[in-house]
């Protein structure tokens, strides 16, 4: 008995707890907005109900009137069109006539023109022929002239070449001569130097001889350099003793240099003895 009541009581309490929980859930979800399944929203059409009968009658009436007006307008147009067409035809006839006339005239003019042109062409052709002949002659002449000129030019060129050749030969000769002269000049200088040296070697210098001595000596020699005679000629700035000593020196040397100086050898030679101090 006790057990049964206890169980019933427990069951009641349990149910009570769950009811409480349910109430709490309901209260807790009070502010939920109800779910609305998404629905397709239909198009809204605005419409005004009108009395269609009257509308139809009015429309028919209007249409009839419009048709009448249209017919009238078309009639008018047709008449106008006919009128204009008649006028047009007359004008066209006139134009046609004029055109025929013009055509005839034009043909006549063309004929004349053509004949004139043909004539002119013929003349032109004649002229052309003559001109060509003349041009041909001219060309021929020019050709001839050209040939002549060429010939002349060739002659001239040949002459020039010859002249040039001659000039070159001359130049060569001159050059050779100059070269030889140069060589001879230098050889002569050497010759004089050699003589100077020879004489100096054999010179017994007197005490009166001073540096700066210049004395021109004339020596007669024979091929081979052997001295025949020697004497002082021309200017000499030394005293008598010096002059004698110089002549003696030449004579003592006996022979002047000869080998190697054959080209500049002279039987009678004047040279300037120089003494500038030892």
């Amino acid at each position: 008995m006790f057990d049964f009541w206890a169980r019933t009581r427990a069951f009641g309490l349990s149910i009570g707890v769950h009811l409480l929980a349910a109430v709490l859930v309901v209260l807790g979800t009070m502010e939920w907005r109800p779910f609305r399944p998404p629905r397709l929203e239909g198009l809204t059409i605005e419409a005004v109900i009108v009395d269609t009968q009257a509308l139809v009658e009015r429309r028919d009436q209007a249409r009839r009137e419009a048709q009448l007006a249209e017919q009238r307008r078309q009639e008018q147009e047709r008449r106008e069109r006919e009128l204009t067409e008649q006028r047009q035809r007359a004008r066209e006839l006139e134009q046609e006539r004029q055109r025929q006339e013009q055509l005839r005239l034009q043909q006549l003019r063309d004929q004349a023109q053509r004949e004139r042109e043909q004539r002119m062409q013929r003349q032109q052709a004649e002229l052309e022929r003559v001109r060509q002949q003349r041009a041909e002659a001219e060309r021929q002449r020019k050709l001839e002239e050209e040939r002549l000129k060429q010939l002349e030019a060739r002659h001239q060129a040949e002459a020039q070449a010859r002249q040039q050749e001659q000039a070159e030969a001359q130049a060569r000769q001159q050059e050779q001569a100059a070269f030889r002269a140069g060589r001879l000049a230098s050889l002569a200088e050497q010759y004089y130097l050699a003589i100077q040296e020879q004489v100096t070697r054999n010179w017994l210098r007197p005490p009166t001889a001073r540096p700066g001595l210049r004395c021109t000596l004339r020596v007669i020699q024979i091929p081979g350099g052997e001295v025949i005679s020697a004497q002082v000629t021309g200017s000499c700035n030394g005293d008598e003793a010096t002059r004698r000593s110089l002549v003696a020196a030449v004579e003592r040397a006996g022979a002047l240099p000869y080998r190697g100086f054959e080209d500049v050898f002279q039987r009678e030679i004047d040279f300037v003895f120089r003494y500038d101090g030892e």
């Binding site: 427990a10 069951f11 349990s14 309901v26 779910f35």
Partner: protein, 228 residues
Amino acid sequence: MQSDLQVWQLILDASWMVKFVMLLLVVASVASWMIIFRKRQVLALAERGANTFEERFWSGGELNRLYQGITEKGNGSSGMEQLFVAGFSEFARMRNQGRMSPDRLVEGAERAMRIALARETDRLEHHLSFLATVGSTSPYIGLFGTVWGIMTSFHALANVNQATIAMVAPGISEALIATAMGLFAAIPAVIAYNKYSNQVERLELRYDNFKEEFSSILQRQAHSLAEE
């Protein structure tokens, strides 16, 4: 009353599987709450009975008188009283059967008390396992309902070209109610289970202690009887 309609509307609109799950959860919840209340009462009674009996027992009265008092009271005896009754009656019966060694006497009394203790423990622990089961499985059951609901609501979405959240949201919301219910059933069950099992353990310990103490008293008595 749009608002309260809609929660019920959700539940009623749910698919049959979700409905079944919800029903199961409601039943489990109701049952577990029943057990909670029932156990609370039983354990409170046992505790109170133990308190009063220990007070009486240690107040130094005659054991025979105490035994008489309890047996006269009859059915409504608490656990500790039953323990005492079992031990003392067995002791008395063995003593009346003739000469027996004091050890045997005490042994018999102890055995009787052990049996009574086991029975009492069983009575206290009865149905607690149900609470444990509800506590551990109802979230899963609720989750199952939710998953099923979401499955169906997505399945319904399969043929739609332009899916909007508004199309799935009601279905998911409705399915989630199952989870909520599962949690609602599980949480009190787990709490109650922990509390009650702890309480039962403590009671058991208390009974055990009493049993030991009482058997030592009986032993003393048996030896004094043997010396007479």
